[in-house]
Every structure is written in structure tokens, then in C-alpha cells.
């Protein structure tokens, strides 16, 4: 069992509220991602759950029990740090075994559990190496192994893939996903990368300035963002926001339309524009335009599009994919 609940959690640092009254529930076995821009408080929130920082007010409950005053080790959680935080003077075996040693388990038990964790993560050949003799991906696996071996109620990941190169990041993302499928343990994962959030999460918590902006499944947030912040944060390239007569005509202060839901024509359309730049990826083409009376916009076209800078084009949004926001930035249903 590994459900975690936060009730009105606040954290102040030197008088400034870094976490401003957060309520959320993570169900047992769920993969929840905390996502948000730098400084939104996602890492702080994770550290509060872990017990590495004390909360200023509110409650944290694990399986219904209040753990607000309980130390990190007694909460039954395991954390994977962004920098891996491996013990540099210990071998991989001892790194993984450390927690079991602290729990005073028998040497036979420790050996058995370490071997099991190493097998899951393909580390069996590296057990006697020191961290400095390992590659980034291998170190990441040792950090995960160290967490697995504790058989925690929940795993906490603090931006674990930030230090890896792009290709390795994709591979590790899949491995963590597989791990979640096989262990079925609750996982809370912090990242600033919304692609990681969208691909890995059962549930996403979008944070902004220490407060929850929206909670929902990835597609919920994609299709029905509650406000301008979430609308602009989720989705790459960013959603186009249009104010003025086009919005007013549809009963909104601001219109949102994702680049992939815009039709582009060289002959006719709602918004005339001039092409600034076109990025050809082969699978897609991103067209960056300067729309008359609106400003910068982005359109995403499938395949290879014959568009060149300076060309006059017309953009038309797909009506059923339009998002409407009122003057306070909230969604109009």
C-alpha cells in the first residue's frame, strides 16, 4: 500500500511562501508527475513528502497515517536524486546494500536482495565497481537499485534524467516505465520536461509559483486545460494564444489553438500571415509566422511542406479544437 495525501501543505523559507497550500492525493500504484517551470516548488514539494524538509503547516499522510513529524527513513519511501548521490567510496554492491545494512538485516538477506535488484537492472557484472568507473546510465541504475532494494511504499524521483544525454534519456524513460509496470509501486516523479510528464504519467500535477494549477491525466491536460498557464505549459510547440476580434467573435477574451490544429493555406484562411521561418524535421514541419494584427504564431504540418520565408500564407484554426479563455485567464466551458 502506498497512497500519499497532502492536505493544505505550506512551506515558508525566510518568510516567503514557497509552497502555498497544496492539496493532492496520489493513489496506491499511481505514477504521478509533478511538473512546472523552474522555481515553481516541485522539488521542494517532493522533499517535503520525503521528509528531508519540514512542512510549515498542513499534513502529509501516507496510507492514512500522518507522517508530518516522522523522519525520512521511517516514512518507508525511497528517493532517486538528480545527481544520483551515490556513495563514491563504496562499491556498487555496498551502495545498494547500505540501506539494508542500516536496517540491520542479516548478511545473507542483504546479499540475496542486492543480487535480485542487480539482476532487474542489469548491474550484475558491475557489482564490484566504484561509481566513478560507471557511465551516467549505469550510475542512474545503481541509484534506482538502491531505492528498489528498500521495497518502499513509494518511489520519489527528483529529475533523474536531467543529467543524461538525449538518447539515453529516452531509453531510461522506457526503463522506468517498465519498472513501474513490473513493480506496480507508487511513483512520484518530478520534472520540468513536459514530454517526460506526458509520456510517463498516469496523473500530472502542474505546479506554478508554489500552488497547484491543475491535476489530471496527460490527455485531460492536453485537451481541457483549466487556464492560460496550463494551456501554454503543456504541449510543444506552445499553444498559440490569440486576443482581439477573432476571440471576441467567439465570446472569449483569449483563444487558444495548438499548432497541430491549424490548417495552413497559400490561398485563403482566417488569419493572413507572413512566414518568418520553417523548420523541416522530415516527419513534421514547424512554420513560424507573423500574423497580421495578432503577432507570432506557430503551425505544425505533417510531413514535408513547401513553405519558405517571406511567403504569404493563411492560417485557419480547426473550430472543434479551439480553447476559449475569459479575461481572468480561466477556461470557458
Amino acid at each position: 500500500m502506498g497512497s500519499i495525501e497532502l492536505k493544505q501543505v505550506r512551506k515558508d523559507f525566510a518568510g516567503v511562501a514557497v509552497i502555498n497550500g497544496v492539496d493532492l492525493k496520489v493513489e496506491d500504484g499511481e505514477f504521478t508527475v509533478f511538473v512546472g517551470p523552474s522555481g515553481c516548488g516541485k522539488s521542494t514539494l517532493l522533499r517535503l513528502v520525503a521528509g528531508l524538509e519540514d512542512i510549515s503547516s498542513g499534513q502529509i499522510l501516507i496510507d492514512g497515517k500522518d507522517v508530518s513529524n516522522v523522519g525520512p527513513a521511517q516514512r518507508g519511501l525511497a528517493m532517486v536524486f538528480q545527481s544520483y548521490a551515490l556513495y563514491p567510496h563504496m562499491s556498487v554492491r555496498n551502495n545498494i546494500a547500505f540501506a539494508l545494512k542500516m536496517a540491520k538485516q542479516s548478511p545473507e538477506m542483504i546479499d540475496q536482495k542486492v543480487k535480485k535488484a542487480a539482476a532487474i537492472l542489469n548491474l550484475t557484472d558491475y557489482l564490484d565497481r566504484k561509481p566513478r568507473q560507471l557511465s551516467g546510465g549505469q550510475r542512474q541504475r545503481v541509484a534506482i537499485g538502491r531505492a528498489i532494494v528498500r521495497e518502499p511504499k513509494a518511489f520519489l524521483f527528483d529529475e533523474p534524467l536531467s543529467n543524461l544525454d538525449a538518447a539515453l534519456r529516452v531509453q531510461m524513460r522506457l526503463e522506468i516505465g517498465d519498472l513501474h509496470q513490473s513493480l506496480k509501486t507508487t511513483m512520484i516523479y518530478v520534472t520540468h520536461d513536459q514530454v517526460e510528464a506526458m509520456t510517463m504519467a498516469d496523473k500530472i500535477v502542474v505546479l506554478n509559483k508554489g500552488a497547484v494549477a491543475q491535476i489530471g491525466s496527460p490527455l485531460d491536460l492536453y485537451n481541457r486545460p483549466d487556464g492560460l498557464f496550463v494551456a501554454s505549459f503543456i504541449g510543444s510547440p506552445t499553444m498559440n494564444l490569440v486576443t482581439g476580434p477573432s476571440a471576441a467573435r467567439r465570446g472569449a477574451a483569449t483563444l487558444g489553438i495548438r499548432p497541430e490544429h491549424i490548417d495552413l493555406s497559400t490561398t485563403a484562411g482566417e488569419w493572413p500571415a507572413k512566414v518568418r521561418l520553417a523548420e523541416h524535421l522530415g516527419s513534421d514541419t514547424f512554420v513560424y509566422v507573423e500574423a497580421d494584427g495578432i503577432g507570432k504564431m506557430t503551425a505544425r504540418l505533417e510531413g514535408e511542406a513547401q513553405v519558405s520565408p517571406g511567403q504569404q500564407v493563411f492560417l485557419t484554426p480547426q473550430e472543434q479544437r479551439l480553447h476559449r479563455f475569459d479575461k481572468d485567464g480561466n477556461r470557458i466551458a
Binding site: 519511501l77 528517493m79 536524486f81 563514491p88 542500516m102 538502491r146
Partner: protein, 276 residues
């Protein structure tokens, strides 16, 4: 043409470096050479450098006159012992300052450093009287305590700068793994800080070994280290340069050898905090 200039410059710099090195080393070299002269040769004007009758009589006389081994034993026990106790106090102190600082921590560190700026002679009389009343004069525990207290600020400061270099998240990982504070310090912090602790201890031992103010004033025979041994040769009956040189060489030889073999560590220790 250009190549010749560089070589010339290199030769000049090397010669200069050697000259400065020899200049600084000269007093020790002279002492060493004098220890092998007869008393007459030691006094001669103009001073004889290498061409004199080499003799080892001074070393034998120094050994027979006073108990070199007792003084050496005291030096070792006091330097190493006092600093080991200081280390036991300094490690937790430096931990709290590096990993759990408050707004007063910086002031505390500055204050500790400031105590080293005061000349010891200013408190000589009160300390002497207190030690006399507590029967701690000429007592290894007494002088050991003083040496420990003298080095505590240095140990704490140096360990503090080393600990600040250690990434906090490794200690946090240990906490998540269930380590108590003591376990964290013993199993994670100390092994990681061993190079820093080693250089700090080396420096502290050398400082205590050479400490010649408190050791001379608070000890006479039982607890007297090698500093007192050397001083005993500046006797009222006259200057025995050769024997003094032999005594000095015997006193500084151990620490010179230690310093020579650990010079890399020492340099690292002294300059570590300076480069960010």
C-alpha cells in the same frame, strides 16, 4: 634565435628557484652540518662549511646527558594524542557548521579564528597559576589539553572548508537510507572526507610538534617534549653550538621526514579552500 632565449630564461629561473630554496633551507642545513663539528670548529671564524673534521661525538654526548627517547616519546604522544582528541570534537563541530548552519555560524567561525590572533603570553600567568593549583604542571594531560585547545580552531576551520565541498545530497541519500546522524558521519561523511582530514591532521601534528611556548613554560622533565630538549642546551654555562645543533637535528628529524613524505597532502590541505 627565439629558442635560445627561452632556454636561457628557463635556466635563469631554475637557478633562481634553487637559490631561493637553498636560502630558505640554509639554517637547517647549517644546523645539520654543525652537529657533526667539534665545539671548537663550531665556533670558528671564518665559519667552516664542509671541510672540517667530521665527528659524531655530539650525538653520543647528547644521548648520554639527557634521555632523548623520553622527550621524543612525549613529543609523539602529545602531538598525536592531543590532535586525535581535537579531531573527535572538531568533526561534529565542523559538520554542524557546514550542514546545519544558522545565522550565527559565520560569527562563531570568525570568533574562533580571532582567538588565534591573541599572543599566548597574554594569558601565560593566569594559565600557569591555574595549572599549578590543579597540579597539572609538568603533566602530559595538562599540556596535552592546552595543545588540543590551541589547535581546535584550526581543525574546525579546515574541516569546515572540506565539508562544504561535499555534496549535501549524498548525506541526504544516507538519511533516506535510514542512517542515523552518527551513522551518517561514520559511514558516509568521514570516508569521503579522509583526504581533508588527513591533511588537516598532518598540519595540526606539525604545529603541535613545533609548539615551543606552552611546552617550555608548562613542563619541566616528565612531560617535556623535544622543544624543551633543545632549549635545555641553551645553558647558562655557555653556548654549546655543536651539541645544540645535534640536539636540534634529533628533534626536528622525525617531523622533517614526515613532512617530506606527505608534502603533496600538506600543500593540498593548505591551499584547498583557497581555490573555488
Amino acid at each position: 634565435m627565439a629558442l635560445k632565449q627561452t632556454t636561457g630564461k628557463r635556466v635563469a629561473m631554475t637557478a633562481l628557484a634553487w637559490a631561493v630554496g637553498l636560502l630558505i633551507f640554509f639554517p637547517i642545513l647549517w644546523t645539520f652540518l654543525t652537529s657533526f663539528k667539534s665545539e671548537l670548529d663550531a665556533f670558528s671564524v671564518p665559519p667552516k662549511f664542509l671541510f672540517f673534521h667530521w665527528t659524531t661525538e655530539n650525538y653520543f654526548e647528547v644521548q648520554s646527558r639527557s634521555n632523548y627517547l623520553l622527550f621524543a616519546y612525549n613529543s609523539i604522544v602529545l602531538s598525536v594524542g592531543a590532535n586525535l582528541v581535537a579531531l573527535l570534537i572538531a568533526v561534529p563541530a565542523a559538520w554542524s557548521m557546514a550542514f546545519a548552519p544558522t545565522k550565527r555560524t559565520k560569527d562563531l567561525l570568525m570568533w574562533m579564528l580571532s582567538t588565534k590572533m591573541m599572543p599566548g603570553v597574554g594569558v601565560l600567568v593566569p594559565i600557569y597559576l591555574i595549572f599549578r593549583n590543579l597540579h597539572l604542571l609538568d603533566n602530559r594531560l595538562g599540556i596535552g589539553f592546552v595543545l588540543m585547545m590551541m589547535n581546535l580552531p584550526i581543525l574546525i576551520w579546515m574541516l569546515y572548508t572540506y565539508f562544504k565541498e561535499i555534496p549535501v545530497d549524498i548525506l541526504e541519500a544516507a538519511r533516506m537510507d535510514g542512517a542515523s546522524l552518527m551513522s551518517e558521519i561514520i559511514y558516509v561523511l568521514t570516508p569521503m572526507a579522509i583526504p581533508g582530514i588527513a591533511s588537516t591532521m598532518l598540519l595540526a601534528i606539525i604545529l603541535s610538534w613545533n609548539e615551543a611556548f606552552w611546552t617550555l613554560n608548562l613542563t619541566t622533565s616528565n612531560a617535556a617534549p623535544l622543544t624543551a630538549f633543545i632549549a635545555s642546551y641553551s645553558a647558562p654555562e655557555g653556548l654549546f653550538w655543536a651539541k645544540l645543533s645535534a640536539a636540534s637535528t634529533l628533534a626536528i628529524a622525525p617531523i622533517l621526514v614526515l613532512g617530506w613524505f606527505s608534502q603533496k597532502q600538506l600543500v593540498r590541505g593548505l591551499t584547498f579552500g583557497a581555490v573555488k
